[in-house]
């Protein structure tokens, strides 16, 4: 039951922003089983410019996003959430991601996508 930052310490140690995006994209690309997520309205995360779907399959939460970066960050969130304690899950918020240091990701998240993803995950 790792903290978010501990689980992704490799990302948090990177300094170059493009390197961080590369890492996030790479993470999303190998996440499984993204193609099993049903791309139906009930699984759609509202408010993303590109589409992002999230679904609970056999007890674990998975996502599929059209944006490579959003797919990456969403996969990180799902993977962390799947192993987190109930207490960690309850306390999880957008602020947990602040230390990644990617302002656009978070500003976008505050308005719509990532914030809504976190809210949706908590309902599954």
């Amino acid at each position: 039951m790792l903290d978010f930052q501990d689980m992704f310490s490799e990302l948090f140690e990177l300094e170059d922003q493009l390197d961080k995006y590369d890492w996030i994209i790479e993470y999303g690309a190998v996440a499984k089983p993204v193609f099993s997520v049903n791309k139906i309205d009930v699984n759609l995360v509202k408010g993303c410019t590109s589409n992002l779907w999230v679904e609970k399959i056999e007890g674990n939460i998975y996502c599929y996003g059209q944006s490579l970066i959003v797919q990456g960050i969403a996969s990180m969130i799902c993977d962390w959430y799947n192993q987190a304690s109930q207490n960690q899950q309850m306390n999880f918020s957008l602020n947990t991601l602040t230390d990644i240091g990617l302002a656009p990701l978070l500003s976008m998240g505050r308005q719509n996508g990532v914030a809504n993803l976190i809210a949706k995950i908590k309902t599954l």
Partner: protein
Amino acid sequence: MRDYFPFFKRRQDITYLDSAATSQTLYTVAEDLRDFMLDHKSNAHRSGNSMGTWVDQKYHLSKELIGKWLNINHPEKRIVYNSGTTQGLNDATQMIMSAMPSGVVFIGIDSHHSLILPWTQSGNDKWKVVFIELDKDGRIDLNDLEAKMKLEPLAVSKVIAVNAVSNVLGLVNDLDAIKKIALDTASVTIIDASQIISKRQVNFSGFDFVAWSWHKVYGPMGLGCLLIDPIWLNFNPVRPGGGTVTSVSKDSVTWQTNSGKFESGTQNLAAISTLPKLVQWLIEHQNDIEVHDISLAKIINDQISLAQFTPTSKTDSGLLCLDPAVGTVEDYTMMLDAKNIMIRSGKLCAEPLITQISGHGLLRLSWGCYTTKQEIELALDSLGEIHARLSRHVQRAV
């Protein structure tokens, strides 16, 4: 012209290519805003003291200069201050609906939501909305407009509502031809000028309503203008209140006879106080601004033969939208931001058009009079690099 804009000295790290959303600020505007707040804050038209008179003078001088800039006679009867384009377009719609109980409005499909929604969401089902399609080049199709107008009975009230330049396509619509069609069909006209006003000298005479925001013209946030044909002074204000009247009794009112009739309440006087110097600067630099805009449009049209991006069209002015072949626009926007290149992406508040041309968000590069050729080239090079980077990820995933 870049030296007139302190932002570029203060933020040398930034490549700013989002001027269609908001422009950077002329130095006099920043100085005048500060001076107003620190030395001159007072109200116009009702103070009766020297500070109030100073504000009155700025208010009236600003309208005189806008008249000179746009070649408009009697600016005190034609220029209405408001909070921005959106308020101007909403007020124009409400004024028309209060003057004419029913009719048909013909709206360009390339319009911003702020031109569409006041009509489609008015709750007034006596006004029918008809969208005008674009021609093969992406400009308002005048044949489609005329054909659709002919389908409506002659006696029906008609409104033509179009933008001068689409905030997605950057194409200049043929306003002279639209004016002629309006004249021939006795139609009321509304022009959203927000994307053209900072770039080109346009003859706005003959249109009923022309709206723009000053924050896109190197000016302050929270201030717009609605240019009206003086005939509309014969109608009551849609937002009556302080400043719109000359006298009031318990059961009667005498409205102002100038455009102040439509400026209820205290206006954004801090912003208005910046206009005299800003508009004077625009008058002095209008030709250079126009030449620069045309030259950047040519450069970007010539250089955007990048195979990995599909431009929505060639551009005439101010902006270019691109549809990337790999990844989504969010990926590009975030990665450009990592290189301190500020662009905009998404559906650009023009979803009816976006639905027709792509169905998903686009990347938009937009420029101002301060933008350099090198900045455009840097952005195009960076887009190419990011495309290569994203393509590698996609290939590895496959």
